[in-house]
């Protein structure tokens, strides 16, 4: 048997997982985060980021954010070629400050969410999401 295209893709995901983590990607993420926070150092608490520990499919990873009282929440995939994923803005009449979406991850990496609160402060939450070849659970 030849490796199918799907095999190659699955293995390719692993390859990027191994090669994407180095500093250059993180630098791009830091830059994108600084752009959102204006350089302020985010605090912790008040923001819940829900993500799977291991992605069932790296091409569509379900994540959710919830930050009561936030004006906006930005989501970053620290290891993706373009780390900035989305910025969600909440108007004054928003019933809740939460959102759920699916994102593509190039490999194992941190997903980072940062919320801008009404008082102008920032809070951050992050989760390590593993993208794996899989296949040997027993």
């Amino acid at each position: 048997m030849k490796l199918t295209r799907r095999d190659a893709l699955a293995l390719g995901l692993g390859a990027t997982a191994a090669s994407f983590l180095p500093a250059r990607a993180f630098a791009a993420a830091d830059e994108a985060i600084a752009e959102f926070t204006g350089g302020a150092t985010p605090g912790e608490g008040g923001l819940t980021l829900t993500a799977p520990e291991i992605a069932e499919n790296g091409n569509t990873v379900p994540i959710a954010v919830d930050a009561p009282g936030a004006e906006s929440i930005a989501i970053f995939a620290a290891g993706n070629p373009t780390p900035k994923v989305a910025t969600i803005n909440f108007g004054p009449l928003a019933g809740s400050q939460s959102a759920a979406t699916r994102i593509r991850l190039s490999g194992t990496q941190d997903v980072i969410a940062i919320a801008k609160m009404a008082d102008g402060s920032f809070v951050q939450a992050s989760a390590l999401v593993k993208v794996t070849i899989g296949g040997c659970g027993g």
Binding site: M1, K2, L3, T4, R6, D7, A10, L11, G14, A15, A18, T50, P52, E53, I54, E56, N57, P62, A100, T108, L128, K130, T132, I133, G134, G135, C136, G137, G138
Partner: protein, 564 residues
């Protein structure tokens, strides 16, 4: 509240070392060197509720030999704790006499000699006898099945799990959870759950992939001994990753810790006075879950096939590990009063098949389920001079044999066999029947592929699997063991991070280091990718054994392990 009595039971490991007696009769059995059915079933009934737990049967209706692992390394917080204690260390920790029935049941030490002395273990007709005895004592005892029940034998494969469903119904199981069940394909699972199963198929962590809504019942309330008991199900979290997701494309799993916390709260709000988690998470995942999710009284663990003779206490949560392949049943008595569990008493009952009498009704049912396949299963393919077993983090002789078969029959440089933990053992001198080959290989994606992989890809695969086993955070572990490798050696440092654990990959036939840029012919089986092509692995193994006549496995020293 944890009662003093409960505390004593947990403290028994220490006192047993000094010969102060034995919780669950382990020491007494050891001293007497004799076994009776009455001894195995002896139990001082406590409280008002009894749970009976069986898990990871892997479709073994009949008694088997099953050698426990020699190597089962724990990393991070689990290092050096059960179930990551093996062999003589295990005997010492639990005060078990070497050579005793308990030593045979629970460790690999002197396995072959003790197997000849104490015989095979398990058999659901023997299990039925134990269940009957417990029910005579406590008629409303609750029987729970932790899953991995419908896969792992010739008859389960051919009947698509029907043999197991029929027998588990007859045993009176009252709830189950799942893992390998889904490898029958979602249509068959739905058919069984809707039309054949007499009890709920629980999974609080199984969701519809598209809408992220619960797909199965998360829990079931039982009124027992005048109190409300909630049984929550937790299926194997990494189903679509460790097994072929295309077989159940619309389902999503995961540990989903927040969901578990919410369900525990929901059942408490609904009046549950005791909360039992019927789990297929794997022991280390459950240990972390118990620490992070309050309010669970008992976790009936599964998936990682551990047998531990005493509960492991995490906060107020008792973790019970009931082994696999029908070797054990756990009996857990609870004293539930004033809305809480006051006392827990536990016994891991070993099913010695030559000591416990078969229940005639269930024995007849098992024979009827097996009858359509009896002739094919019984055919002798060869014999073995070596002990054939599977368990161990890095290799086992069954997989050595399978890798040898792949290299010989498929003309490969390197062979890969998945790190499954299921599969019965065979002792030296035993016939290898077709049934025995299927006990180590029977599953629904058996194609033995042959392809080319670069050295770099092979390294990547080994690193990926190693991280699934040795990531220090249990929520990133999938259970299972390291992929077994034939034709290639390597060195592994389990303490290193992903990407730097595996070094010195060597092609055994030339002694040369593996070249990352070169392509090698690799044969393996159990790919999770749809459309994999090749003959089923059992045909490859059968042909190899026929050619050999008598199997003899050389000691495998191709993996060098560094463990901190």
């Amino acid at each position: 509240m944890i009662s003093r009595r409960d505390f004593l039971q947990v403290g028994m490991a220490a006192s047993a070392l000094y010969g102060a007696g034995g919780f669950g009769n382990w020491s007494r059995l050891a001293a007497q060197q004799a076994l009776t059915q009455d001894q195995l079933l002896q139990f001082d009934t406590v409280g008002n509720v009894t749970l009976m737990h069986i898990t990871d049967l892997h479709a073994q209706l009949k008694p088997v030999w099953f050698r426990e692992p020699e190597i089962n390394l724990g990393v991070g917080a689990a290092h050096g704790k059960p179930p990551h204690v093996n062999g003589t260390d295990f005997l010492r920790m639990f005060g078990i006499e070497p050579g005793s029935p308990a030593a045979y049941a629970l460790t690999y030490v002197d396995f072959v000699a003790l197997a000849r002395e104490y015989g095979q273990m398990g058999g659901l007709d023997r299990v039925a006898t134990v269940l009957k005895a417990i029910r005579a004592d406590r008629p409303d005892a609750l029987l729970l099945d932790g899953g991995d029940t419908w896969q792992g034998s010739y008859s389960a494969l051919k009947s698509e799990g029907q043999d197991m469903v029929n027998v588990m119904n007859a045993l009176g199981v009252e709830a189950m959870t799942s893992h390998w069940e889904f490898t029958l394909g979602i249509d068959r699972v739905t058919e069984i759950v809707e039309n054949h199963l007499n009890f709920p198929f629980l999974g609080a962590n199984i969701f519809d992939a598209e809408w992220d809504e619960p797909a199965y019942e998360p829990y079931k309330m039982f009124e027992r001994g005048g109190v409300q008991i909630a049984v929550i199900g937790q299926a194997f979290p990494y189903m679509p990753i460790a097994n072929p997701g295309w077989m159940f494309p619309d389902l999503s799993f995961g540990v989903r810790q927040e969901r578990m916390a919410a369900v525990v709260q929901e059942v408490r709000n609904a009046g549950a006075e005791a909360v039992v988690l019927l789990s297929h998470n794997g022991f280390d995942v459950d240990r972390k879950l118990a620490a992070d999710v309050p309010g669970i009284d008992v976790i009936l663990t599964g998936h990682t096939h551990d047998a531990i003779p005493e509960p492991v206490l995490v906060g107020k949560t008792h973790l019970i590990a009931s082994g696999s392949h029908g070797k054990f049943i756990s009996r857990i008595d609870l004293d539930v009063r004033d809305g809480e569990v006051k006392e827990v008493k536990h016994k891991l009952i070993p099913i010695f098949s030559d000591v416990i009498a078969a229940d005639p009704e269930i024995a007849a049912l098992i024979d009827a389920e097996r009858a359509p396949y009896a002739a094919e299963m019984a055919e002798v393919i060869g014999t073995t001079d070596s002990l054939l077993y599977r368990r161990g983090n890095f290799n086992g002789t069954w997989d050595d044999l399978i890798c040898n078969a792949l290299i010989a029959e498929r003309e490969a440089d390197i062979a890969l066999s998945p790190g499954f933990r299921w599969g019965a053992s065979l002792i030296p001198g035993a016939d290898i029947r077709r049934e025995d080959i299927f006990n180590a290989t029977a599953m629904s994606y058996p194609e033995a592929y042959r392809s080319e992989m670069t050295g770099e890809t092979l390294h990547l695969i080994l690193e990926d699997v190693a991280d699934n086993l040795f990531n220090p955070d249990p929520y990133y572990q999938q259970g299972g063991d390291m992929v077994r490798v034939g034709g290639m050696g390597y060195r592994i440092d389990v303490t290193k991070p992903q990407g730097s654990r595996i070094t010195e990959m060597t092609l055994l036939k030339t002694g040369e280091l593996i070249d990352p840029a070169r392509s090698y012919v690799v044969s393996g089986w159990a790919s999770v990718n749809e459309g994999t092509e090749g003959p089923p692995i059992w045909d490859v193994v059968e042909s190899h054994i026929r050619n050999l006549g008598t199997v003899s496995i050389e000691p495998n020293q191709s993996v060098e392990v560094v463990n901190g």
